[in-house]
């Protein structure tokens, strides 16, 4: 958790909020207040979407960094081969 990016921390918060919302939804469903439960269900979904979007951004960023590292490694290898020649 300490080395997590900001985006991942946000996703964790979103999932935490989703957890609260689903607990409310469960509670109101059991109490047969279906109208409120349905709204809590929608809120849960919204937080889930936001959490997934954050995970997606994080993974995409990691892919971008990986690509940059690979590109620079390839360039270094090319240069060292030229120097050797």
């Amino acid at each position: 958790m300490k080395n997590e990016s900001l985006v991942l921390k946000i996703s964790r918060v979103m999932f935490g909020c989703a957890l609260l919302a689903i607990v409310f939804a469960a509670l109101f469903s059991v109490l047969r207040k279906n109208g409120i439960a349905e709204h809590a269900g929608v809120v849960t979904y919204v937080f889930l979407v936001m959490g997934v979007v954050c995970m997606f951004i994080d993974e995409l960023t990691a892919k971008q960094m990986e690509h940059k590292v690979n590109s620079s490694t390839k360039k270094k290898k090319k240069n060292s081969r030229r120097q050797a020649v």
Binding site: A18, V23, S29, V30, M55, E59
Partner: protein, 760 residues
């Protein structure tokens, strides 16, 4: 691995509970024919001459059904008892989704620590309410698409994430949908299309930083398309051919897009986001007041609470672990994809239900072809069920591993979770799940007299005989003709059609209702003269009386069953041939017009079939009633000439050969007593070897086909149902594809053997 498989395979015995006591799954939309082999053969042809006066079978039964019904056909060759055959087939379809899910998870999450994950998801894959709803009508087509789903994801993972063996995995994708083809019913593939499209989009976005992969991805897409199309061409090409000709008619006839919207609203009424997250929202639960178990899950507090557990585990797991927990990049990508699929799935499965309902309605009204997904829940719910099952299993396994404490406690918790799946879905273990109405069920004990009558119909009625059902099918239940019985049968498919390959005529949606109505009215009135007149023209040779129908209240008011049967018994036009229980087979005491005959006496009408049926009553024996607006073109047909002789032979249901002898130069009419359809083509061969396609094709006698033959010296005429050719073209493409795959696999095998020898 063996331990996991033993646990999963032990569930194969659950269908035994349903079949115990001599029961079978029959009726409603099950569509299971007890005359399995003859039904399988009928699927090879695009015309079925045994349903009413003939029907375009390519539309009603896509060719993909050939493979879908192959297991029962194959078993029926060796096993006579249809109950055992159906039991074995049921066990196969019951266990298949678990096996495919297990293969998928095992390939990617193969470590021992994921054992619980593999068992949990495999069992949850079969024990869930989405499938249970399908079991009520033994919906094999849905099960096949459902079972294919995890394997499709696995193959996409291999092709686009692991990027290995692209030709071999593309072939496997083709083979997957070759057998698990959903019966060729395109609407069932809604979830598959969305999952596939989402995966491709997902890969495109991630490969943005590795654009060199785009070329490979395009090649993979091409190969997948090639093998899926190639292997399924035998079904796709006929379907495209039929669909292009009839789709606009179907939309207009059923009432256009507005009717589809109303149906969609009905289906999605309870598909709220909350219900979907809890793996509920199944339309039948809320629309059927006599549902066998739904009320328990809607109202009982303990079950309501338990319904939240899977989504709770997912959210807790996402909060604690996310996807970063996975060290392997490929697994992280897969997890992320499944999360995205879940999010998108909720939108599609919710259909026209708020908050995304307007988008779905817009798609239904404005995207060409989207209307085939008009019952969104049934088409897209798998996009929710699959991710919830997968993610809940994944995160629950991680949670147990991290917080389960000692090994013994972890095992106990895992055990209770697995048992809990079965206990929560307890309706699977009850027989009442098939009772969709108080007096009707799809789990039935078929009376012995039904099968005995099936045998008698085979011996007493020739293959070109036609059997009229009486009493009529009942429209009092749902406004559409239904076959119902006192032993619980309820279906749009009449029982006799499911037990024999003899031609059965009923007042059902296959039509033509007008002619069947006048025939049944004659029986109702006890009018022998009328019956003989209509029966002669329509080729009806027998009447099947069934005293075990369960009539609706609307029907009962008119006349009692006893009075109806008494009238039949006293009619001079009928002789009772066979009695089996409350079923009786009567023979009509008159000769009927053969399947193919010639005529040179004509009457004309420009009335529609529904109006002209009544004219048939007074039609002379040797006269044909032609429907046309232009009578003048027939002036050359004179009734004073002697007609040629003919001998016809049925080569198959889509091809007839007619030998004509002593044909003169005078024109005559060829009448073919199958339902009028422009797909039938008549080709005349003349004595000078010329071949001519007969263009003057008309509707005759309110239902049949007639051609004016005005060519000289015709010696032979061939009748062919042209849509059958689409099947032959498709079969050729499929055959070539299979040969190509076999050659490739042999070459690959040879290469591998050579490589292994070199290494040694």
């Amino acid at each position: 691995m063996i331990f996991e498989l033993v646990i999963i395979l032990s569930t194969i015995f659950i269908p035994l509970i349903w079949f115990f006591g001599g029961y079978q799954l029959f009726g409603h939309d099950i569509g299971y024919h007890l005359n399995v082999i003859s039904h399988e053969i009928s699927l090879l042809f695009s015309w079925n001459s045994h349903i009413n006066f003939g029907v375009d079978w390519g539309i009603q039964a896509p060719k993909s059904m050939l493979l879908m019904t192959f297991p029962e056909s194959f078993l029926s060759i060796f096993i006579q008892n249809q109950q055992i055959v159906q039991l074995l087939v049921t066990c196969f379809w019951f266990i298949l989704p678990a096996i495919t899910m297990w293969i998928f998870i095992r390939e990617i999450f193969y470590e021992d620590k994921y054992r619980f994950f593999r068992i949990y998801t495999s069992l949850f894959s079969i024990f869930n309410f989405f499938l249970l709803q399908g079991w009520q009508i033994f919906e094999k087509t849905k099960f096949s698409v459902y079972a294919a789903f995890p394997l499709m994801i696995l193959l996409l993972y291999r092709l686009f994430i692991q990027r290995k063996q692209i030709v071999r995995n593309s072939i496997l994708m083709g083979l997957l949908f070759f057998y698990l083809n959903g019966g060729g019913l395109l609407p069932l593939f809604g979830g598959i299309f969305i999952a596939f499209g989402t995966f491709i989009l997902f890969i495109i976005i991630f490969d943005f930083y590795a654009k060199e992969n785009y070329g490979k991805s395009i090649l993979v897409l091409f190969l997948v398309g090639l093998f899926v199309f190639g292997l399924n061409a035998y079904s796709i090409i006929p379907t495209i051919g039929e669909f292009l000709n009839t789709f606009s008619n179907i939309v207009t006839n059923i009432g256009g897009n507005q009717t589809f919207l109303e149906w969609e609203h009905d289906i999605s009424k309870n598909a709220s986001i909350l219900n979907l997250l809890r793996l509920e929202g199944i339309p039948d639960w809320y629309s059927n007041p006599s549902h066998p178990y739904a009320n328990q899950f809607i109202f009982k507090r303990s079950l309501v609470m338990m319904s939240f557990l899977p989504i709770l585990f997912i959210i807790i797991g996402a909060f604690v672990f996310g996807i970063k927990h996975e060290a392997m990049k490929s697994r992280r990508r897969l997890l992320l994809y499944i999360w995205i699929l879940f999010i998108i799935g909720v939108i599609f499965a919710g259909g026209s239900h708020p908050p995304f309902g307007n988008l779905y309605e817009f798609a239904l009204l404005h995207i060409p072809g989207f209307v085939i997904f008009r019952s969104s829940f049934y088409k897209f719910a798998q996009l929710v069920w699959f991710p919830v099952i997968f993610l809940s299993g994944y995160y629950l396994s991680l949670l147990i591993e991290k917080y389960g404490g000692r090994k013994i406690l972890k095992k106990m918790f895992a055990f209770f979770c697995i048992i809990g799946i079965g206990l929560y879905h307890y309706p699977f273990f009850s027989k009442t799940l098939f009772d969709f109405r108080s007096e009707f069920s799809t789990r039935l004990q078929i009376p012995q007299y039904v099968m005995k009558m099936a045998d008698k119909m085979k011996t007493n009625v020739t293959s070109d005989g036609r059997i009229l059902l009486y009493p009529p099918l009942d429209i009092g239940y749902i406004g559409t003709p239904l076959d119902t019985s006192t032993w619980g049968y309820y279906s749009l498919d009449a029982v006799p059609r499911m037990i024999t390959n003899r031609t059965i005529i009923a007042n059902d949606l296959y039509g033509p209702l007008n002619l069947v109505d006048v025939l049944q009215q004659s029986l109702h009135d006890g009018n022998s003269a009328s019956l003989l007149s209509y029966a002669s023209i329509s080729g009806i040779t027998h009447v099947l009386w069934r005293g075990d129908v369960k009539r609706s209240e609307a029907m009962d008011r008119d006349i009692s069953l006893i009075d109806m049967e008494n009238r039949l018994s006293t009619m001079s036009a009928l002789s009772k041939e066979v009695v089996e229980g409350p079923w009786s087979l009567y023979k009509i005491n008159a000769s009927v017009r053969p399947m193919i005959y010639l005529a040179n006496k004509v009457e004309y009408t420009n009335k529609s079939a529904s109006q002209s049926a009544y004219i048939l009553k007074n039609l002379q024996n040797d006269t044909v009633l032609l429907k046309t607006d232009n009578q003048h073109m027939f002036f050359e047909i004179q009734d004073t000439q002697t007609l040629p002789e003919l001998v016809f032979k049925e080569k198959n249901p889509t091809k007839y050969s007619i030998e004509i002898a002593n044909a003169s130069d005078k024109p005559f009419i060829l009448v073919f007593n199958q339902k009028f359809d422009l797909g039938w083509r008549a080709t005349a061969h003349q004595s000078n070897s010329d071949t001519v396609i007969l263009q003057k094709h008309y509707e005759a006698n309110s239902y049949a086909n007639a051609w004016i033959v005005d060519q000289a010296s015709v010696t032979k005429i061939e009748l062919e149902y042209m849509p059958q050719r689409y099947f032959y073209y498709g079969l050729a493409v499929t055959g070539i594809t299979i040969i190509g795959i076999v050659i490739y696999m042999l070459k690959t095998r040879k290469r591998i053997i050579i490589k292994m020898r070199k290494q040694k």
